[in-house]
């Protein structure tokens, strides 16, 4: 019996659907493979070219304003630096006396933000510096005020993809500056930024500053994260959670700094 044309067309559609689903599942199963990372790099690099003319026009309009702003910041930073130098040399002398090891040193790679993709589920930035410029996977990222922004999760030769602090998968070890308690900061849908697993008896109060703890190779110590806004009233077992207001304003980020650990 001959197969009719509509039937053939339906089989063709179903065949194509099965092929598309199979390919998609294959891609999902190969997440993290070098081939897929290369494909991602290719798409990211291609996208970077779209931003070249936009950035050029933007720069024309903002360059003078940026220059004056930077001049002001430079003066303020210079004064702070002078203060810090005194404290730092004293701190170094005391550390040497006590026999502490030297802290890790970081360099920074400045990068312009090409695009940001954000919702309250996943958040990322694409920046115009890639592996050709020395960016490596899982490098920490801060903003112009050295406040926590995120970490690099994909690198191509010309661009890098930065996972922001408000991504559902982002975790960072932080320290509350006054009480010196340590916990893990993550973003939750309902409560915002939370430090979990803080000891029940930790003397944390609203307004305290929160910085990175330095317990990882990604972020050095003392990167400013934000301020404690609320302490959870419900105490579960022997730990409590602390709500944090993040210092970084993601809506205004135009350039970021990628931390590169010294060899």
């Amino acid at each position: 019996m001959a197969t009719s044309v509509p039937q053939l067309s339906r089989y063709k559609s179903i065949g194509n659907l099965v092929a598309a689903i199979a390919l998609s599942l294959l891609i999902i199963a190969s997440n993290g493979s070098p081939l897929l990372s290369q494909a991602r790099s290719l798409v990211l690099d291609g996208s970077a070219y779209l931003y070249v003319p936009i950035q050029w026009v933007e720069m024309l309009f903002t360059i003078e304003k940026d220059y004056h702003e930077l001049q002001q910041r430079h003066i303020k930073a210079q004064i702070e630096l002078n203060k810090s130098k005194t404290i730092s040399s004293e701190n170094q002398r005391l550390r040497n006396m006590l026999g502490f090891k030297d802290e890790k040193q970081f360099n920074v790679i400045p990068a312009n933000v090409l695009s940001d993709v954000g919702s309250h589920t996943m958040s990322s930035l694409t920046v115009d510096q890639g592996s050709d410029d020395g960016v490596t996977l899982l490098s920490g990222v801060v903003d112009a005020e050295a406040q926590l922004v995120g970490k690099v999760v994909a690198v191509s030769p010309k661009t890098a993809l930065v996972q922001l602090v408000n991504d559902k998968n982002f975790r960072v070890s932080v320290r509350e500056m006054r009480s010196r308690d340590v916990g893990i900061l993550s973003y939750t849908l309902k409560k915002g930024y939370l430090i979990q697993d803080v000891p029940k008896n930790a003397e944390v109060i609203a307004g305290d500053s929160v910085v990175t703890s330095g317990f990882s190779d990604i972020f050095p110590e003392h990167i400013f994260v934000g301020w404690v806004s609320e302490i959870s009233p419900v105490v579960e077992d022997y730990v409590k959670s602390v709500r944090v207001d993040l210092a970084t304003d993601f809506n205004r980020i135009e350039e970021i700094f990628i931390l590169k650990q010294d060899d």
């Binding site: 659907l17 998609s24 891609i27 990211l44 954000g118 919702s119 559902k168």
Partner: protein, 158 residues
């Protein structure tokens, strides 16, 4: 052939629009998906096969451009939506308007269930929160935009 090129080019423009300017349309963190609207449009007015494969390619590209940890999930979702919308290709005008909108809602739910629910299966967030705070708002927002765009383009009108 020209049609394939035309829709591929249009798809690329929609992808760039979604990627570069999607945030402008954010309401309380809810961003609509213009890509799914485009794929439904191609499926309903043009060709099922093209909608499916365009959905697959554009889905892969948007996953690669965003920070998702599950590349390929949008390919799967958009290809499926392309197939489903293509079933009603050329027949959509004969379907009552209410049913048309129920179909659009169904297509969007398929897309958002796959992209939002599956990609959040490993998160610590409660399912109710993901459904009511992310999936449903995004579905309704995208449906509202889809309705406006389809009315302008006279999709589904006799």
């Amino acid at each position: 052939m020209i049609d394939i090129l035309k829709y591929s080019f249009l798809g690329l423009l929609v992808l760039i629009f979604q990627w570069m300017l999607g945030d402008i349309f954010s309401i309380y963190g809810s961003i609509p998906s213009f890509l799914v609207i485009f794929i439904i449009y191609v499926g309903l007015t043009h060709s099922q096969l093209q909608a499916m494969w365009l959905g697959f390619v554009l889905g892969f590209m948007i996953d690669a451009l965003t920070g998702t940890d599950m590349i390929g999930i949008s390919s799967l979702a958009l290809a499926l939506v392309g197939y489903l919308s293509g079933i009603f290709h050329a027949r959509i005008v004969r379907i009552p308007v209410i049913v048309q909108y129920l179909l659009y809602t169904g297509f969007l739910l398929v897309f958002f269930i796959l992209t939002v629910m599956v990609s959040h299966q490993d998160s610590q967030w409660a399912t109710g929160n993901i459904v009511f705070l992310i999936m449903l708002p995004r579905t309704l927002y995208t449906l509202a935009l889809l309705s406006g765009i389809f009315i302008l383009l006279r999709v589904g009108a006799e």
